[in-house]
């Protein structure tokens, strides 16, 4: 573990930067820290390359929040066919039996599970839901159910969402969720999830009643795709979504469908990523092409001129990825060009 080859170049009290050899897109923060020999907390971070070719790579880094250093581990790295569209660590790994290892999932052509140990990574399974052929429709995203961690829901361009039981490595349910490609999926409850699609709708599904789904929002111009969805885990009434080519973050209240409760419009270019605060029901962070990451506090009463963000950070270039992990609520991770940066909140 101590054979780190690279330490972060840039560091200060409130910021740590990691330079990768290639452009980065997918990124995940571990939900449970492991301990170093010096008894520091170490947080694993997985970063996935974005290279428009077959050979892509996922690297596991570790972040020590006391020394503010990021270490790489040559052994903790694996090839990925084409860029991973999403990476995510087991959301609740303290509860699992594995002590020093962590489960990582990646999506792309298939949903893959990897076991990240101290000095190695082992592929655990490749989950392919197509029984008829060796090909399965590519996955745009997935979400790991926090309450029921054996469940992972994937979203695909073939208009379906698939719910996996990863312990048994079987499909629990597959639903034709939308009229067009499904771009993102998010769990609310153990059995309730929502998804967004190129058809411009946000729909809610309840696994207890698979006969129905409910559209709770449609983009104002028909067929403007919705690209990302984030469900507020601290207050399930709220979710946030972003539209294609839009600088808006749309905040929805599931009790009053159709009309967003708020639209956050202070980005100066399109928004690329959103993440709710892991420990507060009223805070959300968004990042976009305007190179800014903005933290918003949702007011109970919106003023007539819209909502202003609380604080801002500007990266050097378009921010493509944003993660706010429950294990480190004080840190927000962003990715832009070939850099990953941890920002102190």
């Amino acid at each position: 573990m101590e054979n780190s080859t690279q330490e972060s170049h840039l560091r200060s009290e409130n910021l740590v930067t990691y330079d990768s050899l290639y452009p980065l897109y997918a990124m995940a923060l571990s939900s449970s820290p492991s301990r170093t020999p010096h008894n520091h907390h170490q947080h694993r971070i997985a970063v996935g390359s974005f290279i428009e070719e077959y050979n892509n790579r996922v690297d596991i880094l570790s972040f020590d929040d006391e020394t503010l250093t990021i270490k790489t581990h040559p052994n903790l790295s694996f090839d990925h066919p084409y860029p991973p569209t999403k990476l995510m660590f087991h959301p609740n790994s303290t509860s699992s039996l594995r002590k020093s290892s962590d489960l990582l999932a990646s999506s792309g052509d298939y949903l893959r599970l990897w076991e990240v140990r101290d000095n190695s990574i082992e592929p655990i399974s490749v989950l392919n839901n197509s029984k008829t052929s060796e090909f399965c429709a590519p996955l745009t995203s997935f979400d790991w159910n926090e309450i029921e961690p054996r469940r992972i829901g994937t979203s695909s361009i073939d208009t379906t969402c698939t719910i996996w039981d990863i312990e048994r490595a079987v499909v629990e349910t597959q639903l034709i969720a939308h009229d067009k490609e499904v771009y993102d999926i998010a769990w609310g409850e153990a059995g309730v999830f929502a998804s967004v699609s190129a058809d411009g709708s946000v729909r809610i599904f309840d696994l207890r009643d698979k006969e129905h789904s409910t559209i709770i929002y449609e983009s104002p111009q028909p067929d403007t795709p919705l690209l990302r969805l984030a469900w507020n885990k601290q207050d399930l009434r709220y979710m946030a979504t972003i539209l294609m080519d839009s600088n808006k973050v749309v905040i929805l209240d599931i009790r009053s469908p159709t009309v967003p409760v708020a639209e956050l419009e202070r980005h100066r270019a399109s928004v690329n990523a959103i993440a709710w605060a892991p420990q507060s029901p009223r805070h959300i962070c968004s990042a976009g092409d305007d190179t800014q990451a903005l933290i918003w506090e949702l007011p109970t009463v919106a003023g007539p001129n819209g909502i202003d963000p609380m604080s801002m950070y500007s990266a050097g270039s378009e921010i493509n990825q944003l993660q706010w992990s429950a294990a480190q609520p004080d840190w927000i991770a962003i990715a832009f060009s070939n850099k990953m940066q941890l920002l102190k909140v």
Binding site: S133, I176, D206, I215, L227, N272, D289, T300, S311, M312
Partner: protein, 641 residues
């Protein structure tokens, strides 16, 4: 429960009784008092309410017969308790709900509506209650269930509860809302009647004395029924106090002699004195004792479901046209979820259970830990309107560049994908196709969409099938039938070829897995013609059939100069030629439409097993793929043998 009561800031203590009288006198389903929150000024929140609608199951062990109005009050209280207990689950979502007399399964849709209303808050000026308060004018909303959600944000909920008419009027610095499951046309005199007859009279029914005697038989006259005759008899007793109170509560209302019956004068006096000495805002005294004693009687509740006897007879209402509005519901229907799955007519029903699953663990926003704003250590600085000087340089190229690549192009990279799950596969593999609920606001939209989709498909079909008359849908179908028959014949002919070549293909695929990237070295001999420019395509047709049949298996390995894509602004012209196979054209069209291309002309011909296609199309929307991506995608289709 106590906490619940404390939330009701600024609500007069006997308001619930007044609401009860009002709503029962007109036989509506519920009454809600929205009061201005003392914690969040400018926001209307649940103050109090009275539920008078349908009831499914009534759980209680009753040692005493409660009369109708006590039952109603008790039900309203139980609903509030249930809401509080659901809300209390928030801090610890996994924890079991504390024992409430009711559980969500016991509720009718209307009760559920009433319950969910408790979680709503309205900015003044927004929503039905908010606008009522802002304008100071009553609002009468008919057909609430199909109202635009901008007008009535709870229209979806109302639909599920069959609430059709909702009225709001300003009252006591807040707003009174009444709702009923019938369509009632606007009638300003009704509002006036309610206001003057029932609400604006100091009405204190449940004195501490009568409360503690719930265990005993209670005088029927103690009821909340507005028995005006009785009231008149008592008026003089209350006269002095009443004047004071009227001035207090509603200075602009003319005094009104009809005071409903109040036998417990002494306690009434006490309240009257309170009223005289306090401001409207400080009417925070809770009649805890009342709710407690009802509650106590419930403590040993044994979950006995009891048929609720129609309460009509107790209510002396002038127009009893409503008849049996208190439905007697069977035990069979206890399971709410089960009922939902049976009752498919109401699409939105299931959404309630989704909501209940979600909302059981969340209530109003709880102020979270505040972030240390402008913390010295933070990477973030406080937001300024102008942004950080010199750091923001919006990029001139495509927006969301990487995100779009991840979502739109990575999928294409994987290639060879089944883009649309087939219908028959659905049945075999148990893929669910959830019905999208017909929420009113989008019904028209989805229908239009569906029709659009259908026409679009017909257009594609028409362009795929060689036909003489592509005028109407019927002739397109006729031509298709004809064409399919022809194709079937063709398939049989090619069957033998396919069998042999498939064998060949599989054996070849194993050693070199990266078939698609290998160069076309060993396809070259047979495929010389493919390299030739397209003008020569006539030549290709001359190649004899045996040769092209062999080629069909080898196509995988050709690098594919057989697809050309030319783009002039939005217009994309695709020319392809490739060995014909079943459904190929359909797959090509699919691939084209997946690339967000709108084809307006498709010409195709097959000759000796070689398919020639020319597609003229335009980009739909802003998702323009590059010529290379289109070419690669189409090549993948061709290679998928």
């Amino acid at each position: 429960m106590a906490t619940g009561l404390q939330n009701q800031d600024g609500v007069p203590e006997n308001l619930r009784k007044q609401l009860a009288v009002a709503v029962r006198s007109i036989q509506w389903s519920y009454a809600i008092f929205w009061s201005v929150s003392t914690r969040q000024p400018g926001v209307l929140q649940w103050g109090d309410g009275y539920y008078n609608g349908d009831i499914k199951t009534r759980k209680t062990v009753q040692s005493v017969e409660l009369n109708a109005d006590q039952m109603g009050l008790q039900r309203s209280e139980q609903l509030r308790e249930l809401y509080e207990s659901l809300a209390a689950g928030e801090s610890n979502p996994q924890a079991k709900r504390p024992s409430a007399a009711l559980s969500p399964e016991d509720l009718t849709d209307t009760e559920w509506y009433y319950l969910v209303c408790m979680s709503f808050v309205f900015n003044i000026g927004q929503g039905l209650p908010g606008r009522t308060l802002a304008n100071g004018q009553p609002i009468w909303l008919c057909n609430a269930q199909i109202a635009d959600s901008k007008v009535f944000s709870r229209s979806l909920l109302a639909k599920s509860a069959s609430i059709q008419t909702v009225i709001c009027f300003p009252f006591l610095g807040g707003v009174v809302e009444l709702g009923v499951t019938e369509l009632v046309l606007e009638d300003p005199s009704l509002i006036q009647h309610i206001k003057t007859s029932f609400l604006e009279i100091p009405y204190s029914i449940v004195s501490k004395k009568s409360c503690s005697s719930v265990g005993n038989k209670i005088n029927d006259r103690d009821g909340t029924c507005a028995e005006l005759d009785n009231a008149i008899l008592e008026t003089k007793l209350n006269l002095v106090v009443e004047c004071e109170e009227l001035n207090m509560i509603s200075p602009n209302t003319s005094s009104n002699g009809f005071v409903p019956n109040q036998p417990a004068e002494d306690s009434y006096m006490v309240e009257g004195i309170y009223a005289g000495a306090s401001q409207v805002q400080s009417w925070q005294f809770r009649d805890d004792e009342f709710s407690n004693c009802v509650h106590n009687s419930m403590n040993s509740s044994d979950c006995i479901s009891q048929t609720f006897v129609d309460a009509e007879k107790v209510v002396s209402a002038p127009n009893g046209e409503k008849g049996n509005n208190h439905c007697v519901l069977d035990l069979r229907q206890c399971n709410h979820t089960k009922m939902n799955s049976l009752n498919l007519q109401n699409d939105d029903l299931h959404y309630q259970s989704v909501l209940s699953a979600l909302l059981k663990s969340s209530d109003q926003l709880i102020l979270g830990r505040h972030f240390r704003n402008c913390n010295k250590e933070s990477s973030f600085v406080s937001w300024k309107k102008g942004g950080l000087v010199g750091t923001i340089k919006p990029r001139s190229g495509t927006s969301q560049n990487l995100l779009k690549k991840v979502l739109f192009e990575v999928a294409q990279m994987h290639g060879d994908c089944l883009l649309v799950p087939q219908e028959d596969k659905d049945r075999n593999n148990g893929i669910w196709r959830p019905e999208v609920d017909g929420i009113n606001w989008n019904q028209g939209l989805s229908e239009r969409r569906q029709r659009g989709n259908l026409s679009e498909r017909f257009l594609v079909l028409g362009s795929l099938v060689p036909s003489k008359s592509k005028v109407d849908k019927v002739s397109i179908l006729d031509d298709t039938i004809e064409y399919l028959k022809e194709l079937q014949k063709r398939v049989e002919e090619l069957e033998s070829c396919r069998e042999s070549t498939e064998l060949e293909a599989t054996t070849r695929r194993k050693p070199g897995d990266t078939v698609e990237r290998t160069s076309d070295n060993y396809g070259d001999n047979n495929f010389g013609h493919r390299k030739k420019p397209l003008i020569n395509k006539r030549k290709a047709c001359e190649i004899d059939e045996t040769e092209s049949e062999i080629n069909c298996g080898l196509v995988k390995d050709s690098s594919g100069d057989n697809v050309t894509v030319s783009m002039i602004e939005e217009d994309v012209v695709i020319e392809m030629r490739c060995p014909w196979r079943e459904c190929l054209l359909l797959e090509i069209m699919d691939a084209v439409s997946n690339l967000h291309l709108d084809s307006h002309s498709v010409q195709s011909s097959t000759n000796d097993g070689i398919l020639f296609v020319t597609i003229k199309s335009k980009f739909k929307g802003s998702m323009a793929a590059s010529a290379g991506i289109i070419r690669r995608a189409l090549q993948r289709v061709v290679h998928k043998c």
